[in-house]
Symmetry: C2
Subunit: 399 residues, 2 copies
């Protein structure tokens, strides 16, 4: 945009984001607050991000000319989901507009095979797995990994899509056909104790900041509740931060990243776990990463000094991350489209809860499983926040 563009970008500069969902929307809100401009690009026309953005472009991700024009109009580019074609990064490079995180990271995060290889190369602990590209390889992998095993498409699904469980009675060929012969990853089933995650940010000069480790509870493979901070031994939290730092440095990340972990039960640590070694508890396995703000970081809007979206804005603009200090224990509860099943939720009842902070994403159609919004509650303890949050969400339900 500005021919004499200088980094770090000051307020008044324009950030372009590929994707137009709620993550882009919350980024746009922070951009507005801090005086930055935000443009959004996606195939959607009336989108959560577009409602807040300074400019919204509705075009296909593979429309080279539209992507080029979009890149020309901004000072830096980022994305709010991984499945942006790598073409986008190439065009941005041609136009001299930085993409943060880089196209390389985007590329790795688009595919489980590349992601697993990258994590393993970085010496990070992952679930035992095999790549499989035909039924014969799958059968062999099942023999090695044992039952139950999880077959996942190499191309990422989300919210549990693109994965199936292989139990002793299931014929591998049947599972294979389920995904139409796409190349896949077969993972060992991990009997984890809890799911945890950590959001971290890294600036262009390598300054790193991680939020506290949080606990995530899923329902039907969709994130339901995040509890911040996770109640874990200090050694586990320290290990998570060490792993997050190692990953960010290894990737030379500029931006925000979330790591989802499985916490293994204390009793089940054994030599099969591909641990990172050095003073580790060995109880953390990396399940997935996302090189962007994450649903499990939404609590930071109210609960931390700097939100994960301000972190994204800061790092993409070339500034260092802000403080990740937690203000108070926080709980985030997703509001899925299912809540609309019996009609409009009972907003009046919700708004009688003085501590529940409501976020709605401006989506018009409430489909089951669709993330329509979330609630955040901060309190003196996670137990108190969870109790208030659950009561607030229950108040929304009409029967």
């Amino acid at each position: 945009m500005d021919q004499a563009r200088r980094f770090p970008l000051p307020p008044g500069s324009t950030i372009g984001v590929f994707g137009s969902g709620q993550l882009g929307r919350m980024l746009a809100m922070e951009a507005r607050r801090m005086g930055y401009r935000l443009h959004t690009y996606s195939p959607e026309s009336d989108s959560p991000t577009g409602q807040i953005a300074d400019l919204k472009i509705a075009a296909a991700y593979d429309d080279c000319e539209a992507v080029r024009a979009f890149a020309k109009g901004v000072d830096a580019l980022t994305f709010e989901f991984e499945n942006v074609p790598s073409l986008v990064a190439e065009i941005a490079a041609e136009e001299g507009v930085p993409v943060r995180p880089s196209g390389t990271i985007l590329h790795a995060a688009q595919n489980r095979r590349r992601e697993k290889s990258m994590l393993r190369r970085a010496g990070l602990p992952v679930t035992p797995y095999h790549f499989v590209k035909d039924v014969a390889e799958l059968e062999e992998a099942v023999q090695e990994i044992g039952y139950p095993a999880i077959l996942k498409t190499a191309a990422f699904g989300y919210d549990g899509k693109g994965q199936t469980r292989i139990e002793p009675g299931v014929r591998p060929s049947a599972a294979w056909q389920l995904f139409g012969g796409q190349s896949c990853v077969l993972e060992a089933h991990v009997d984890f104790e809890r799911e945890l995650s950590m959001v971290a940010a890294r600036g262009v000069h390598g300054d790193f900041a991680a939020y506290p480790l949080v606990e995530n509870r899923h329902v039907n493979h969709i994130l339901d509740i995040t509890i911040a901070p996770a109640e874990v031994e200090p050694a586990v939290a320290a290990e998570a931060e060490r792993l997050a730092r190692r990953l960010c440095e290894n990737l030379k990340l500029v931006g925000v990243l979330c790591i989802e972990f499985f916490l293994l039960p204390k009793s089940r640590i054994d030599r099969d776990v591909q641990s990172s070694g050095s003073a580790a508890t060995g109880r953390l396995l990396i399940n997935e990463i996302a090189p962007r703000p994450h649903n499990s970081g939404h609590w930071t809007i109210e609960g931390a000094v700097t939100s994960q979206f301000e972190q994204q804005l800061r790092t993409v603009s070339g500034h260092g991350p802000g403080s990740t200090e937690m203000l108070r224990p926080s709980v985030m509860l997703n509001l899925l489209g299912d809540l609309w099943h019996y009609g409009e939720p009972d907003w009046q009842a919700l708004l009688t809860v003085p501590d529940a902070k409501l976020h709605l994403y401006g989506k018009h159609e409430a489909r089951p499983g669709r993330k329509m919004g979330h609630l955040t509650v901060t309190a003196d303890s996670t137990d108190a926040a969870l109790e208030t949050g659950l009561a607030a969400r229950a108040a929304l339900r009409r029967h």
Copy 2:
């Protein structure tokens, strides 16, 4: 808008705001977050509120037809400054759209004479004063009140405009001519110790919630810094809340209101002070009120569970106020246009301060004294927050 409008208004409803400055902008941000729609009406075309609103109408406040059309398009009306003609409230009443706070409160707050009378009727402590409508009355009032006295236009100025100090050497007639013979209020000079303020909210069913009492520091009659909470004896804070509650109840306020107080030195309490009686310290005098969110409440965005703008949205929509609990001691520092005197402020330096939260209002022209934005810092103590905040703001200055 919706013929079958029902209160309290659920998300998806539309709030109309008269005025289009930063207060409307921050209201619009909260409305967006919570899934409400916001329309703004003012004579300005590219405005801080308009940049965020769902709809912006640029028309004169006395354009009846435009006001009527605007009122028809919303579910409830509010304002972000007092000087909206009372005509607006009448048209809204004709269209059956509630104005919150009511037109009566708006009317009282537009004029120092009406405001003082209202406060006195409510038994609230105000500075000794006289109304004056000609030089003869002014001379008489000066005799009674003594020197120094402050002559203020009855019609409100803001940020110290529309007032002059009458010292022993000043001829009353000269002071009188300064305001072109407008009707005025002559107030006794109050030798106060500190300036304090309290933001409170009251719902349609009378539920009342006040934020902690804060301390304000002014420079050239413009708010410079707010320190939350104010360091005062508990009895003073309790008295402030009692006065705020009495005022809100007396006005039957539905909305948000700020009271500015003078805190008198302990040694100077005497019978001249028109005190509220009952268990009061007698150290608080009401200087001014504003029936809307206030600059001295901006810290609530980061520092309190519910921001003053969410309070406005909640109460205008017919919900009760949210929690006014403070998360951490906070300091708010205004960023005036003067900071732009030597060119663009040094944003890069500011953004190296990980705890400073930046708010910019999207104003294009940085005039001296113009409020361009603010910073908020939260910390474990107000001293720590103030130190960080002052350092952050100093970092912005180019010399």
